[in-house]
């Protein structure tokens, strides 16, 4: 049981080790997905938001983590 819990824990940590970055990325993806359902909306700005948003979130998180150390 302990081993199974450890394996599941390891699987979960494959996808995040800094919760704030994971949450920010998920929020950006959710916003992009929500925007894509708006009828008549051009998706090119949504794709640009996706790329710029994720890159900005990553750079901000790295800068903050480096500052904290």
């Amino acid at each position: 049981m302990n081993a199974l819990r450890k394996i599941l824990g390891k699987v979960a940590t494959l996808f995040y080790d800094d919760a704030s970055l994971a949450i920010t990325v998920l929020a950006i993806l959710a916003l992009a997905a929500a925007a894509s359902t708006v009828p008549g909306l051009d998706l090119e700005p949504v794709m640009a938001f996706l790329v710029v948003g994720v890159v900005a979130a990553l750079v901000e998180n790295v800068a903050r983590a480096a500052r904290a150390r």
């Binding site: 080790d17 800094d18 994971a22 998706l43 750079v59």
Partner: protein
């Protein structure tokens, strides 16, 4: 272009990303298996590693066919999200290591620590079957192997590229295991952080690409947008590392 060249152009980036990502995981597993092998005997360590590979094969056989039943757009969104989270996590760590904010992974130190821990465990008699060596080896290969399975499925599933992704992963694991066995020492000269940096960028680019496709968007120039996404991520992360290193980001 001929169909073969087109296939190669599509499969190449997937196979490359899968190869290097799996190589990083294989190096980590090899360090532990090697320590168990040197300290407690190679038979139980090898048996543990082979049992873990069999378990991984069973897990893949169980979940692999289920992927075919998922609608392609849903699969792209799910795989894109998971790849992006996975890639950004690796890229963040590699950026912090490159910037000197956290220490580099030291395979020699991990190897020495693992050997010390195994040496202190009871029953270190190399003539007998050693359950501890088998379990330590099994756990290391299973946990690192799970990451390889996630990488292969993530990179291969959404674009129908499971075979090239799996081939890249198997190739990396065979090369790393063969080299570690031949040298009989941890592969500390593998530039782990540079690999993690490159793989983090590639996996994040695939994640963005598949998520965008999954929500109904179309990237400029189709699949050729992936190298563009790689270039954007590389430029941004390299600039951020350089700025952090010089103290420009405060």
């Amino acid at each position: 272009m001929t169909p073969n060249l087109m296939d190669l152009l599509h499969a190449g980036p997937v196979m490359t990303a899968s190869f290097f990502a799996s190589a990083v995981e294989a190096v980590e597993a090899a360090t532990v298996v090697l320590a168990a092998s040197v300290e407690r005997g190679w038979r139980p360590a090898l048996a543990g590693a082979l049992a873990a590979l069999a378990a991984l094969a069973a897990i893949s056989a169980l979940f692999g066919p289920a992927l075919a039943a998922i609608p392609i757009a849903t699969l792209q969104v799910v795989v894109g999200t998971l790849l992006l989270l996975f890639g950004v996590r690796w890229l963040r760590k590699a950026m912090l290591r490159s910037a000197g904010a956290i220490g580099l992974r030291d395979e020699e130190a991990l190897y020495a620590r693992e050997r010390l821990a195994l040496d202190g465990s009871p029953g270190a008699d190399r003539r007998r079957w050693d359950t501890i060596a088998a379990l330590v080896s099994f756990k290391a290969v299973l946990l690192e192997g799970l990451e390889v399975v996630v990488i292969v499925i993530g990179l291969g599933a959404a674009g129908g590229m499971l075979v090239p992704a799996a081939a890249g992963a198997v190739g990396a694991c065979v090369i790393v295991a063969g080299t570690a066995a031949a040298l009989n020492r941890p592969l500390s000269r593998v530039p782990e952080n540079a690999l993690k940096f490159a793989v983090g960028i590639m996996v994040s680019a695939f994640g963005l690409f598949w998520f965008g496709e999954g929500i109904g968007g179309h990237w400029p120039y189709g699949d050729a947008a992936i190298p563009g996404l790689v270039a954007v991520l590389f430029a941004a992360s390299s600039c951020a590392v350089a700025l952090v290193r010089r103290g420009g980001i405060r």
